[in-house]
Symmetry: D2
Subunit: 352 residues, 4 copies
């Protein structure tokens, strides 16, 4: 059994990976670590765990938190994982970090990202950056090798945008500088910390755009799409919050270089993802919506072409807390340990 430790166990990202690990055939949780609520059983904070996981949360300096494990999930904000990773690696663990800390392979790229989110631009463990893998398995699974030590789990918006646009840019379908990502997220994307913006009475019946000045996920979207395209790509990105809990719907636009039909694009997309269990491609008339990926690790892509204006339009749906976070993290763990990629993730979800 793979022994796992979760740092930041008390947040939504920690809960998500805990739920998934409880159902994983080859892994078990060794410690739940958090700076908040140490000494409290996780099931007191999240009562749905009662009888399934009544493990007590331990503080980072607790001996239990120090035990060597095989994998550490850093369900922590920017700046935490980069400090803790070296010691964990030294004890033999592999790292899956949820934040932006390990999504970049150079100090310079990290600095640009850090600048955007208003953080210290100096990385605490710059030596780890060159060996870190960007953990979007559909694009990078082959790079995850036996000796890989660090995975930078991708941002939730980034997952939806990159999976939605990658086949188009890889195949050179789109005009330079024509990409727009209009992204809508459920409220759980903001995490468990209460705020006036996400207070129930302020949020029900409330949709709005935010961070219009720029969102941090743009960096990784442009980098990854650029790699696929073989040249620099810039996108216009809009983040919007929708009054539901789980789900991202990203509507992705690009001008087609040449006239194409929906059927032609569908072929390209289906071919691109034919070996990717977690990506499902649909024609524009399919009645797909966010609940069809809810609670699952799937990305549903709906392909359409606006022939009047020669625009490609992909609608990309994920569950921000699964494929956009804990699910991708587990998928990465499976790859790190040579397990079938779908272990513990092969579930349809529930409806309604």
């Amino acid at each position: 059994m793979i022994k796992a430790k979760i740092i930041g166990a008390g947040g939504y990202g920690g809960v998500g990976i805990t739920e998934l690990l409880l159902g994983h055939p080859d892994a078990k949780i060794n410690a739940l670590v958090d700076v908040e609520n140490p000494g409290m059983p996780i099931s007191k904070i999240y009562p749905h765990f009662t009888g399934f996981c009544d493990m007590v949360i331990v503080a980072p300096d607790d001996p239990k938190a120090q035990e060597p494990v095989d994998v550490v999930f850093m369900a922590t904000p920017d700046g935490v994982g980069m400090k803790l990773a070296p010691a964990e690696i030294a004890k033999g663990a592999k790292i899956v970090d949820y934040s932006g800390d390990f999504r970049f392979n150079s100090k310079e790229d990290y600095a640009e990202y850090a600048r955007r989110i208003g953080r210290n631009t100096e990385h605490a463990s710059p030596d780890l950056l060159p060996q870190s893998i960007y953990g979007l398995a559909e694009l990078h699974r082959k790079e995850i090798k036996k000796d890989t030590k660090v995975i930078g789990n991708p941002g939730c918006f980034a997952v939806s945008c990159i999976l939605g646009l990658s086949p188009a840019v890889k195949n050179g379908l789109l005009e330079q500088n024509s990409i727009i990502c209009d992204c809508k997220t459920g409220v759980s994307g903001a995490g468990k910390k209460p705020s006036p913006t996400f207070h129930y009475p302020a949020r029900y019946e409330h949709m709005n755009a935010y961070k219009l000045a720029g969102h941090q996920h743009v960096c990784e979207i442009e980098r990854e799409l650029g790699k696929q395209a073989g040249h620099e790509i810039k996108v216009t990105f809009t983040a919007q919050v929708i009054p539901l809990c789980r789900g991202i719907m990203s509507t992705l636009y690009g001008t087609l270089k040449n006239k194409m039909t929906e059927a032609q694009v569908l072929d390209i997309y289906r071919d691109s993802y034919k070996y990717d269990k977690f990506v499902r491609v649909f024609e524009s008339s399919a009645p797909i919506g966010s609940p069809h990926v809810r609670g699952t690790n799937y990305c549903n892509l709906v392909v359409s072409v606006d022939e009047r204006t020669s625009r490609l339009r992909i609608v990309s749906y994920i569950d921000n807390l699964v494929k956009g976070q804990a699910g991708s993290a587990l998928q990465n763990m499976n790859l790190l340990f040579g397990l079938p990629e779908t272990n513990g993730l092969d579930k349809p979800g529930i409806y309604p």
Copy 2:
């Protein structure tokens, strides 16, 4: 592998048991039967099944629908199961029926129920009634034997009320005629058929009491509680709809015969359910709510005593579509086939 057939596969009750059977280690679906949408893959109607269950729905007269199976889930409205059951039993199947058709053991009791819901009071298969078992496993699992042929799956409100009140009445804690069941259900309890009442704009921000003249689940609640008490019991029952999808919260009141503390009642409740994996008992200060049983087969009971007025108050939470429907059905299937009761049901759900 147990071969299962689902009749009424296209409704929420059918979807629920399909989801559960897909994750069951010892059962598989042989046929999805419905009068609506025959010829259509279930995954076209419920796209979350894409890649998991793309089986085509068959009409009742389709040869596929006629194949002998081990168990038939009748996810059908009142009046259907009673007509279809004899032929299925003749072919060797066991029946779990979701409706009121087999919740009563005599023509007379059925007639009283049928009268309340405005249906034909004549039962189509009266011979089956004496051998039918009321499928609330916590109370009746011992009666489910190798040769049991028919289970009447309990009503969703009934599950929440009976589990919530049974220890109190069995132990004679309550005064005669003092029981009030104030029940709140999510909208999925009304099924998948659209109606003006459950149209999104009419239902969001809308809570209301309904069927104030009387609800059909009262029959089984009074019958079951009466059995536990050893004497007739009458309850006042209020059904209310709440703007959420899944969940029943039943607030159950009864006047205590003798002064008791919460701790004393807690002891009785914990003792009553000590062997029941799917019932969890909590003290009144526990922060329990409907999401903590969402998507699961659990019933959470919160015990409190209003000492000022000498009233017992139990707050009972279930997921109406799982413990209140498909989950109980699967639990009954497990019992019918001598499997561990928790097979395919032992999951904590997801949060948030």
Copy 3:
């Protein structure tokens, strides 16, 4: 024009009375006072006011906050109004206080209430208590006279319960100690302060009972019903939160002393409220729900009798922020100044 000052202008209670005063023919706002966000236009915090009320919030010690006015709405938590009231009265103002500070007429009654909510039991302005009026206009409008100085605006749950039960107890319909108030409130009742409990992801799809050990509104419910009955009354009270924003639905139970039909009770209720514009009485089959009072000062009462158990059941609907708070406050202001009670309140709301 009546000059009004709102203390606690930045909370939901302040916003509510601001909205109502903007539409009132005989009153205008002189100052918006709050300890938070002084110097900020109210329309920056609540952008729906842009162009309607761009008045700047002033701190309590701001000269603008000191200007004499005709009426002060204390939209403040327990303990604030009792300290500020004497000085305002000295300057000639009348007070409508939202908290429990002036809902009681003696130090002793206040102390009992304060004890329940865990506050200092000493009242800061005990001399004002005997002259304060409990501001449920339907029961006390005649006591509000030209020289009335202080109104204790009623609690939101209390409004729904007292209006729902008053005709029954006044007419002696119910057995001693048989009353149960099963109350459900929308989330706005908790105010604008964010908390883990009311964080959107934690609250959507979440209904639960809370404060099972006792709710502070019970004091005023028992006091007022006792006055109507002419003898002491005790009730069992349950507070529950429902995932909607505005609305209280209180389901009120009492055992009938004598056999009565719904029609007989309806007559009594209709007669009781025949001069009360803001109370509407409906038979049990009327399709009434919380949206039908949303955004309005109305209380809708649905009358039913469970003849099998001889219980009266009243379902009482209000908007917790209007009839349960700012609307009652404005109704009280109208009475204090001899205006028609419905001024500024005579609106049907919007649907859906």
Copy 4:
């Protein structure tokens, strides 16, 4: 007093104009006409009207429905108004039609629209088309004259897109063929008729794009923007449904011809709408969302420029049932009768 008749009184569009007319100082309702529920008081269907409007719905052939009035609101689907308008005009009425019937000024333009929505392309009253005015008051108020007989009330999405883009195209800011309208609507936009898509359990937690093959509002958006620009304009348009009741958020993109700052665009927008009471322009950092126009006739426009990609991005918020329907209709009525444009509409709404 202006005498008004509402045809299609039982739908959301009829309810909306009824609510507004009840609060209008210069108009009163003469008849509520509908083919459904004739003989029933409107307040039985919409109980919030109880005591405000208990008028009985009459069938179209009822004598009451035939009485001459000053204005007829056709809250009816496509194809109805064009048949009824001539007779009403003959009796002296002015027409405000909610559908697409009178949004075009020639048979040919109407035919193109009708083709898109799959209707008979022949217009029933082609003679009225040249004199009909497209009722977006901000753009066409000067064309509404004393003798104007017919107004084609604009589509809800169209209102949000045209108001959001009009200043940019009129001032020639955008590159040819660069406009994308990413539109999100609340569920009430689908009207009151229940459907599987808008059934509460199917819609809560569900966001999705629909009609990807083309939406009928595109015709009027392109026509109106083309008029402002002075040349043909084509847009890519995406319709999306969001799980809330009221509100449209349209995120509008266009590539800037020349480098511009947000401040420069803000100046242009503020100048464009300086005389338009119902349009409010905000900078990109303003915390604006859909609830700030809820229940009101306002359009809130948030201006931003993505300087990295030289794109203008306008986020346009309206209440689809008010500014997107009944509010615009009333605004048009005010103009038709020479009244102040804001009569009956000058309200901030309620929050939260």
